[in-house]
Symmetry: C2
Subunit: 83 residues, 2 copies
């Protein structure tokens, strides 16, 4: 089934308290080499037909306007899977 994957992450300049908490836990369990953790969203948009260029452009727009909060988040990737 074709999908468009939209990936949204907290902006680099902002603290990510959830990621910080996970990083602290990983350090306590011995994973000292992981310097930071950031947690975002991975959103799959499913289609029952092949995905077109226009769909990808629409998905980018949906990602920026509807699936993310532009004040605190960035759309870092829009990719097609299983087309």
């Amino acid at each position: 089934m074709p999908k468009i994957i939209v990936e949204v992450m907290p902006k680099e300049v902002l603290l990510d308290p959830q990621g910080k908490a996970v990083a602290n836990s990983l350090h306590r369990t011995g994973h000292k080499d992981i310097t930071a953790v950031r947690i975002g969203k991975r959103i799959e948009l499913h289609f029952d037909r092949p995905v077109t260029e226009a769909d990808v452009a629409a998905a980018q727009k949906i990602g920026e306007s509807f699936l993310s909060n532009a004040v605190i988040e960035d759309v870092v990737a829009v990719t097609v899977e299983d087309n």
Copy 2:
């Protein structure tokens, strides 16, 4: 900066109410071709040195044991970026 990206999604067999709500909203705003939406997590593990095969294996393990709930979620991808 090298990163390992761990992607976690709700299992296919389970309902994803958050995704369902987004799909309904998209339908109302005219995106009728999107048959379903599923929302998962994208977790970045940052390193300040090049990432090794062992790090990727460790990240897979961390993803399965710590970053996801195996009852309701699957680790769908573990990839290296900017190595």
